[in-house]
Symmetry: D2
Subunit: 344 residues, 4 copies
């Protein structure tokens, strides 16, 4: 049994990790930390976990974490990078669900996250935990950067086109929509139900931190610079991301794009290319680790439209982290992740 620790167990990604890991047959939840709630029972805060998680929140410390095999950081940005080196030295594996190790260039990281990176050397060792791209590297990693929610939906949607350079790489557009849980469990007026319910808005049009992450991933996939316009939106629902992706084909010739996608993802347990003409609903992946994708070429024109949906807390966060953990420890990749989307 793998002994796991969750640092920052009170946010939505933390509690989602608990929900998944509590039923995972190969792990023991050893430590759940939360500075603000030390001594409080986890299931007092999250009554859905009653009977499944028998733990109290503890203070995070390298010493106590060192008793585990792996640490999940479900913390704000800037936390994992301050503890990573010490934990790695003690032989632990790390999966950071925040952004500390997602960008390989420390200068880019500093630009978007507003402070110098604390351990730039580790940026190069860290493996970007998108199994559909980096599966083999993940198996052998010590330090995994779990992808962001938008980057997961957008990259899985665009990769087949970009890898094959079938589209102009300088005018990609990702119009992405997320449920409000993506903003985390923070006391902020703009995320009140009175503010976000029954309304729809874009945000961060000027520049969102997931833009460089997506761009980096796509550039690695094709070896060329990517020009991407990324506009995130807030949907009045709790879970789910829907990315609507636009790209201009480099040729007007007939292309079997449906086949391209089906072939690319044929062996992927968590990417499901829907039949031609489909329109994926976020509800169909709610609570599941699946990405569902549909491929469109409206009126046979030069613009390809890809629709890609995930549950932002599962394939966009905690589920993907467990998928990565399974790879790290040589388990069947789908262990603990065979949930079916909760519809309706």
């Amino acid at each position: 049994m793998i002994k796991i620790a969750i640092v920052g167990g009170t946010g939505y990604t933390g509690v989602e990790l608990l929900r998944i890991l509590a039923l995972h047959p190969e792990v023991i939840i050893h430590t759940v930390t939360s500075r603000a709630d030390v001594g409080k029972r986890v299931d007092d805060m999250y009554p859905n976990l009653r009977g499944f998680v028998d733990a109290e929140f503890t203070e995070p410390s390298v010493e106590s974490l060192a008793e585990c095999d792996i640490v999940f950081f479900a913390t704000p940005n800037g936390t994992a990078m301050r503890m990573a080196q010490a934990l790695l030295e003690r032989g632990l594996k790390i999966i950071d669900l925040a952004a500390d190790f997602r960008l390989t260039d420390p200068a880019v990281w500093e630009h978007w996250y507003g402070e110098p990176h604390v351990c730039p050397d580790l940026l190069h060792e860290a493996v970007y935990g998108l199994p559909e791209v980096n599966r083999e590297r993940i198996r052998n990693a010590r330090l995994l950067a779990n992808p962001g929610c938008y980057p997961t939906a957008v990259q899985l949607g665009l990769l087949p086109l970009v890898e094959q350079r079938l589209v102009h790489l300088d005018t990609l557009i990702a119009d992405a929509k997320s449920g409000v849980s993506g903003a985390g469990r923070k006391a902020e007026i703009p995320m009140l139900m009175s503010e976000t319910g029954e309304s729809f808005k874009a945000y961060g049009v000027k520049g969102h931190r997931h833009l460089p992450e997506i761009r980096q991933g796509l550039e690695q996939a094709c070896g060329e610079p990517i020009g991407l316009t990324f506009v995130p939106h807030l949907v009045p629902m709790i879970r789910g991301i829907h990315a609507t992706l636009y790209a201009q084909l480099v040729t007007s010739a007939a292309l079997d794009l449906q086949n391209l996608y089906e072939t690319r993802y044929r062996d992927e347990p968590f990417v499901d290319v829907l039949p031609a003409g489909s329109h994926p609903d976020t509800r169909n992946v709610r609570g599941s680790n699946r990405c569902q994708i549909a491929v469109h070429r409206p009126q046979g024109g030069d613009t390809v439209v890809i629709l890609s949906v995930i549950d932002n807390l599962v394939k966009g966060a905690a589920g993907q982290a467990v998928q990565n953990m399974n790879l790290l420890f040589g388990l069947e990749e789908t262990t603990g992740l065979r949930a079916i989307g909760v519809y309706p």
Copy 2:
């Protein structure tokens, strides 16, 4: 492996049965019927089931159903009673998720359901499938009447008080609130999102079909007539029932009601009495088979207030049906039902 059939697999209780049974380790989904969709793949209609359910909808017939061990009726009222006798004769077990076998008195059934009952003899054989009351009888039954969603939440909330006759039995009040999936998957204007979203209303105040069902259950629990006012409401959410129950204590003496409830449900795998002072959220049981209950006596007065929540599609329908199936076939009662509430 138990071969199961679902008659009426296109409604919300049907698809919820599929979601649960597809991952149940002891069953094979043999037959899923829908007259209107014969030949269509189940996962074409419900893409959340892609990769989990490999079946097409078929015509319901006694012959084809007879190949199974058990038939779940997830049909409108009045369907199961027309097929039950023939299926029982062929040795099958039946769980009816509709109301055909819930009331023991054919006259009462006819009054509330608007037609004579087709097989009144079976009404007496049928066992009311509330395991917290009838566990032993369920194990030995052939024909189970799966309780309604409101009756499950209300009875579990009131039973400890009524069984002990601690409250006046003639002025019970059940103010119940349900998500819209309780109305089923029917094309009706009042259930459009534009009608039910961002609004709240009562309905059926004059008299709802779940009233006689609840009354019957409570009368059996105490052996006396019950006077109950039952007012259902529609909540702008999809899943979940919250019953707020009011009863007048027969004594003003101090009573340890918290202990009464904890003792009554101590061994129940799916009833969870929350700590004193709690307010259960429907979200904490979303997608799970659990009932969470809190006990209050405001200002120490004579009025007891019980709060009882379930997921109407799980403990209020498909989950309870699977719990009953487990009992019928001698399986561990929680098999296939160890899901944790999907929060947030």
Copy 3:
């Protein structure tokens, strides 16, 4: 033209006052205060008001407010009572939308609000601003206590029964449900959309501050002690209150309750008794100052069920305050309040 000031213009009742008063033909919005936002344009914070409100938030001070004819306090509890005396001395009228002047007994106020009242003398002068009860006293008042949202819905629903003593006064039950805007515009985790969306819960069962307010109003209506169980609930919607009220008739005789209600409210511009058998929807009063009420006596029994709906921010707060202002200044009572419910 009446010069008005709003103290605390950034909460939901404040912005709703602005929405109503900006189109009121007899007022000038002279001053809008917010300590935290001094110098900021009101319509920068609330873009729905662009072109309608040309003001900046200012510091609240007796001096600047003294230039106005009336001050609306849309502030947290405990603010108005600290400024009321000084403003009254300068000849202003005051409508407090918070709770400072709602309870007549300073000891009761202190018990429920946790601090001694600062100006208990004014408690007796203050008029409770429910026009359906106190219209004439309101016309001549200087200081108005605008009723709470729940108390408005509950009292309007129960008054005809209580005034006529047709029901047992010691076992009244008010099961009330509110949209989340009732909690105000405060940065608190429990009011995040991820917490309150798609879920339903009761709260404050132990005791809610609106309980003594309702009890006081009903006791004044009948001159006898009232026993009331009041359970508020949170509905996953933004606006609207639905009160489901239960009372036991003192007689089993036939009573024309429909006529009782229609007669009681015949001349009320903002109370609408629906036809017998109706179930009011909160959506039908959304954005309007109306209370819609339906009267039921299920199965002709002894329990009366009253359904009463309002928009908590309008008839439950800002609209009622404007109705009161109209009375205070001798205007037509409906001036500026003839909005129709926004359906769908």
Copy 4:
């Protein structure tokens, strides 16, 4: 006073017309038709109108309509074109809120609406009722085609760029999101709250009927062919459209796009260009006739991003129809339309 008739008064655009016109100071609601509800009181079906609309639904006939000055068709597509000629001959004015007169080319109409147009001659007389483009022609029209909801939001967002040919006209992208009331008040399973709530999806990617309408409007604005990819999405809310519009600038030079938009719409009473850097919320225009627009050029690149929001039932349907009526009859354009967005 203008005597108005509404044909098809039971859909969402019909009831929204009633909500607006009931308070319009210059009109009398003379006739409201609904074949299915003849003899029923309008406010029985729509209790929000109680006290404001004193009418019964009648059978639509040219004779009865001929007593009015103007007929609003709030009907399904294909109705108005069958009655228009006869009504025009009797001197009435017509505003069709459906699509019968929106496209000038009968062949295009037939392609998208699936039947030959009944009165192609009138297609050329009909004026497209977008006041921001056709104000003078509207004043003198007999027959107005009220724009679609998406086309209103998209055209108002793109017109300044397209009129000035500042962007490539062949790769425009309109990623549009609508609340569910846009689908109308029809008993259809996909629009149930259980289907559309808490979920997000695209639809009609292959081709939506609003595509040719938008294209026609933009082509008339610049005199050149337009290449547009239009993807509509369904948002789990009732009212509101948010269009996110992408265009490639023809020059990389500095451009004062903010000023371009502010100048273009300076005198428009219902188009509000927000300050630079804004992100409009649909809630801020809820219930109002306003379009709010924000202009972005992320990272100073060649892609312009325009955000445009309306209430689909007001500026996208009934409100714009009343605005057009005001123009037709020489009234102040804003008469009856000075509502403020209902926030929260």
